[in-house]
């Protein structure tokens, strides 16, 4: 009987050891770690890298139009004679976050150019851009984008538009939101 008791005690001990080991395992905490990332992006910016320039031309007797495309090709309608020299569409460099989308707004009303030495004026209208205007039209695929802008210049008669330099300004809006 003593032997049985011994075995019994051993078995009971074994039982308790198993049970206590079980609880010891169950109460072990588990930890893990995670990383944190954030990005501070530059303030959205846009700058003009090339001015809109219709180049040299001469008004004819009835007036006409100069159409300058965003791709910097120019065509003449009416009695306007295109001279030699350079002309180009306007260029804007827009920078910001990679893949940021934004909208482009062109002047909605005609822009007036004024003769530097007289009050004579010319009107620019029918603005075009590449990429075209609209909400979400622009995309900063690599954090920047070049936007080219063209327009149509209405040229009056020789009396309306005497020889000289005409200047004016216009606003293009790049909306980041």
């Amino acid at each position: 009987m003593a032997r049985i008791n011994k075995i019994l005690i051993s078995l009971v001990l074994l039982f308790f050891i198993v049970v206590s080991r079980t609880y010891a395992q169950a109460t072990l905490p588990a930890s893990t770690t995670g990383h944190v990332i954030a990005e501070i992006i530059p303030v959205f910016s846009a700058s003009e890298t090339a001015q809109l320039n219709f180049g040299r031309f001469a008004p004819g007797p009835q007036g006409g139009k100069l159409i300058l495309t965003p791709q910097s090709s120019i065509s003449v309608l009416g009695s306007v004679y295109k001279g030699t020299g350079s002309y180009n569409a306007a260029s804007f460099y827009v920078s910001g976050d990679v893949d940021a989308a934004y909208s482009i707004s062109l002047p909605s009303s005609p822009v007036i150019l004024t003769h530097t030495t007289s009050a004579k004026t010319m009107v620019i209208e029918e603005w075009f851009s590449d990429p075209p205007p609209g909400i979400g039209a622009g995309m900063l695929q690599n954090g920047f984008q070049v936007i080219n802008v063209g327009a149509t210049l209405n040229v009056g008669t020789m009396n309306d538009n005497p020889v000289g330099i005409y200047t004016g300004s216009y606003t293009i809006t790049f909306d980041f939101n």
Binding site: S31, T32, I40
Partner: protein, 183 residues
């Protein structure tokens, strides 16, 4: 044992009886002992990170500000910071596994984690939150799983220098720690 059978039948009978008793007891004992030791019950609790805590993109200004990422991925800005839609970020996601229907506690970092741009610029991350909330609020489902989402607050300095910041970058504090335990 064979020797016992030949020399003393009485003793052998006793021994057989004892053997049967011992065998029965042994079976019973092991039956009891193995019951609490099944895989289901002793499975230790485990936690794994599957999604990093990402505050997304934001624009700093001359005023200090914050970006708060809630566990439900809601992002809010405070102070001089403007959120940028190009990267909306995400809360951290952890998966907790263990026995089905077990309760467990959640411990979030008490202090700040520092993230850097790899250079001299840094930001701190504080005010940790989670869903389920920290404390004795974790409950594993019927399959022994629960998703634990963790958010926090990013503290942005005035004129914070633009760049990509990470806790892994040089000068960063390293990752933050989340601990779970049965209670």
């Amino acid at each position: 044992m064979i020797k016992l059978v030949i020399t003393n039948l009485k003793t052998m009978k006793k021994f057989i009886a004892f053997s049967i008793f011992l065998f029965a007891f042994t079976v019973g004992a092991f039956s009891q002992a193995t019951s609490p030791a099944t895989a289901t019950i002793i499975a230790p609790i485990a936690i794994a990170n599957t999604v990093v805590l990402d505050f997304g993109a934001a624009v700093a200004s001359a005023a200090i500000g914050t970006v708060t990422m809630a566990p439900d991925n809601t992002r809010t800005a405070g102070g001089g910071v403007t959120l940028h839609p190009s990267d909306v970020g995400s809360a951290a996601v952890f998966t907790v596994t263990g026995p089905p229907n077990f309760n467990y506690s959640i411990t979030l970092p008490a202090g700040a984690t520092t993230i850097t741009d790899g250079g001299v610029n840094s930001m701190t991350v504080t005010n940790w939150t989670s869903n389920p909330a920290a404390g004795n609020n974790g409950v594993l489902d019927g399959t022994g799983n629960q998703v634990l989402a963790v958010g926090a607050r990013l503290n942005v300095s005035a004129n914070q220098v633009p760049g990509a910041y990470s806790s892994q970058s040089a000068g960063g504090s390293g990752p933050f720690t989340v601990t779970v335990n049965y209670y």
